[in-house]
């Protein structure tokens, strides 16, 4: 399945958002995720089914003004 993760193209076998995070070595409770511009809650990642062409954003705390 072809996905865009943080703006980069990835070819992965993950079926769910949680599997994608594990496959790409993302871990930690400080991460926030969105698929196709909508928030996917941490508790929903394991059941959230990904589809070909999905755009995933994985964000974490950063300095800000």
């Amino acid at each position: 399945m072809k996905l865009m993760v943080n703006g980069e193209a990835h070819e992965v076998a993950a079926a769910t958002l949680a599997e994608l995070l594990a496959a790409l070595d993302y871990e930690g409770d400080w991460l926030a995720t969105a698929v196709n511009s909508d928030l996917v809650h941490k508790a929903k990642r394991a059941e959230f089914q990904l589809s070909d062409g999905d755009r995933i954003e994985i964000l974490s705390p950063m300095q800000g003004g």
């Binding site: 993302y26 511009s37 941490k42």
Partner: protein
């Protein structure tokens, strides 16, 4: 004491966390400023990266409140989704709402701002909108549910200071009971003192401290200026006069001729 969305805060200075020479200097500057609130952001994390964790751990160790922002968002959808992601990560309903409308001036898109503010207020957020000094926009933001307004006094990072004192004075006068925080454009402690003397409730700044030669010293200076400006406002300042008025009593003056 300053009260924002039901939280009492000892300091009237809100401080940004970006652009410091090092995390250690950021931490020292936060302490030196006396601030009770720091702003933070969300950005893309690298695969396997732990940059976010390190930063988040540092911020939590400072013991101050977190005000996440939606910096860099140019659409209502981006800002709303970013706010929701921030609420999940930072565990707060506070959000500094930015919807940027112009790349050069980083001027807020006030139309998108009002729309996003309405969506987020209805969703239970405590919204701190980064806006202009436009009174009509301010009215719309209040109607949307905002209890705090954050007008700029000059473009973000410009260090120009209050470029339109008349507009700020008008805003303060027009909304006497609304919490007003000057956000963006402050360059010097005297700028902060000036807007506090006008009766603004607080200031939010970042670049003026972070990019100073000595951020810790500048943070301390801004903290003092904010306190001084507030105390001056509360103490009732003299209005300027066109003629001289002797300060030394004239009664009992010796006559030598």
């Amino acid at each position: 004491m300053l009260e924002l969305y039901g939280t009492e805060l000892p300091s009237r200075l809100l401080l940004g966390t970006a652009q410091y020479p090092s995390p250690a200097i950021l931490a020292e500057a936060v302490k030196a400023s006396g601030t009770s609130v720091v702003t933070v952001s969300l950005r893309r994390e690298m695969a396997g990266g732990r940059a976010g964790e390190k930063f988040w751990s540092l911020i939590r160790s400072l013991g101050v409140r977190i005000l996440p922002n939606t910096a860099g968002c140019h659409s209502v959808k981006e800002a709303v989704t970013t706010a929701k992601m921030a609420r999940e990560v930072f565990g707060t309903s506070w959000i500094k709402l930015e919807v940027i409308g112009n790349h050069d001036t980083l001027q807020p898109d006030v139309f998108g701002l009002v729309k996003a503010a309405r969506i987020l207020c209805e969703d239970g957020f405590d919204v701190f909108p980064y806006t202009t000094d436009d009174l009509v926009v301010a009215e719309r933001l209040l109607e949307a549910g905002c209890k705090v307004l954050m007008p700029w006094c000059a473009p973000i990072g410009s260090a120009l200071g209050p470029v339109n004192i008349t507009a700020l004075r008008s805003m303060r006068g027009h909304f006497p009971g609304v919490l007003l925080i000057v956000d963006a454009g402050l360059g010097r402690p005297s700028h902060a003192a000036t807007v506090m003397e006008l009766g603004f409730d607080a200031v939010l700044l970042n670049t003026a401290v972070a990019r100073a030669a000595d951020p810790v010293g500048m943070a301390r200076a801004f903290g003092k200026a904010v306190d001084a400006g507030r105390e001056a406002f509360s103490s009732g300042m003299l209005e300027p006069r066109d003629v001289a008025v002797p300060s030394t009593p004239t009664i009992g003056r010796a006559v030598f001729s």
